[in-house]
């Protein structure tokens, strides 16, 4: 599966995050979008996290671990304990940690059925298409 390194340094309009675990760890100015396969989805406090395999640009598979907020907060955004299962294809937009490890926090995830689950931000990262004037 080909890695899609679509976006870097995307401006993200993020809502303030309530983090127990050191938001300073993440490179919040950088956003990667990776296509991969879910290996595990852990629905836990104080943060849920998703593990998925994706190939890097040398073809090596890396197992990424990416977090969200807690189940209560994520439920209000439409996430569920059953949102992912091992083997699901996903496209994950994420903010990586600064040390280069395959770790990060989720911005949003595109599921195979076309649904998008949003973890960070309350508006799109691109302007809405303008309606042509009549």
């Amino acid at each position: 599966m080909k890695v899609l390194l679509i976006t870097a340094a995307v401006l993200v309009t993020a809502v303030p995050l309530v983090a127990h675990h050191g938001a300073a760890t993440f490179d919040t100015e950088k956003e990667l979008t990776l296509k991969g396969t879910v290996t595990e989805w852990i629905w836990a406090n104080p943060h849920c996290f998703l593990k998925f395999d994706a190939k890097d640009d040398t073809g090596t598979v890396r197992n990424w671990v990416v977090e969200t907020q807690n189940p209560t907060t994520m439920s209000s955004r439409g996430w569920r304990r059953v949102s992912f299962k091992a083997g699901d294809p996903v496209t994950v937009a994420l903010q990586p940690v600064k040390n280069g490890a395959p770790v990060g926090r989720i911005v949003k995830v595109l599921l195979a059925n076309g649904e998008t689950l949003i973890a960070i931000g309350s508006q799109p990262d691109a302007p809405l298409p303008q309606q042509p004037e009549k």
């Binding site: 995050l17 300073a24 760890t25 406090n45 671990v65 949003k108 595109l110 998008t116 691109a126």
Partner: protein
């Protein structure tokens, strides 16, 4: 980004904004969404019942404050303790592998008053002839506030949630005093410290049938140079009595899994 991805992202964002426009609505019940009725403000709130705070109350997002609250200057003792707190947010924020928040890294109890200063999720208030019980969604923890006229203990052993007594200041205002808290707990997510000399006063004022205002004042002369008010008339809204609150329990097992999978590799 594919067209479908972009479209669904935009659609979800619009839905989220719509949900936020309902004020502090949160789908606290699980499974499934809150009933539609819970998303609607009552046409007109009735008068507050006399000496009655029973019900499930929710401050919404205002109940949670990740970055902590402004505090008065610390004493030298408070400065020393504060330096040992490595928080995940706020003024003492460090990378996650270095965080030593006893709540999130060890599964320690949130403790009081952090449960009302930082993690004030929905709380069910129950009254008995001798006490007021606070049943917190977060941690599925409870407090007993004695209203039978007893005095606070003298020089008590510290407890995670301290010792609390309450009295009705008037027919709509319950005043709660708490001492004897455990100084291992933090005041908030920013790692603000406190000592076992902390004295907390909570004022619950029932404004009308559906609104409860919470004010919280703290005095800890060992840690801070003067008293202060951390919450000032924070509004809590009555939510439907049939709401089945989610579990939101920070466990030691889940904290360890997070440390192993997320924090350690990020070093």
């Amino acid at each position: 980004m594919t067209g479908a991805f972009r479209f669904s992202f935009i659609a979800a964002a619009v839905l989220m904004l719509s949900a936020e426009s309902f004020g502090q609505y949160q789908p606290w019940n699980n499974p499934g969404r809150a009933p539609t009725a819970s998303r609607q403000e009552p046409a007109a709130a009735g008068p507050a019942p006399r000496r009655d705070l029973t019900g499930i109350w929710d401050a919404g997002n205002s109940g949670i404050n990740g970055t902590g609250y402004p505090t008065p200057p610390l004493t030298p003792w408070g400065e020393e303790v504060g330096k040992t707190h490595k928080s995940g947010n706020g003024i003492r924020m460090v990378p996650m592998a270095e965080v030593n928040d006893p709540l999130s890294t060890m599964g320690d109890p949130t403790g009081f008053p952090r449960i009302i200063l930082y993690e004030l999720r929905p709380v069910q208030i129950v009254q008995t002839p001798d006490s007021v019980l606070m049943l917190y969604m977060f941690e599925k923890r409870w407090r007993v506030i004695w209203t039978d006229g007893r005095q606070l203990p003298k020089d008590p052993d510290p407890r995670w949630y301290g010792y609390s007594v309450g009295h009705w200041e008037d027919d709509y205002t319950l005043v709660v005093e708490t001492i004897g808290t455990d100084e291992r707990t933090w005041l908030d997510n920013a790692g603000d410290p406190h000592s076992d000399q902390l004295r907390v006063v909570e004022r619950y004022h029932r404004l009308n049938q559906t609104t409860l205002e919470l004010s919280v004042s703290l005095d800890d002369p060992k840690t801070y140079t003067k008293p202060w008010t951390a919450r000032d008339k924070l509004p809590l809204r009555l939510i439907p009595p049939g709401t089945d609150l989610m579990e939101m329990i920070p466990s030691a097992t889940e904290a360890a899994a997070y440390r192993r999978s997320m924090a350690e590799p990020s070093k």
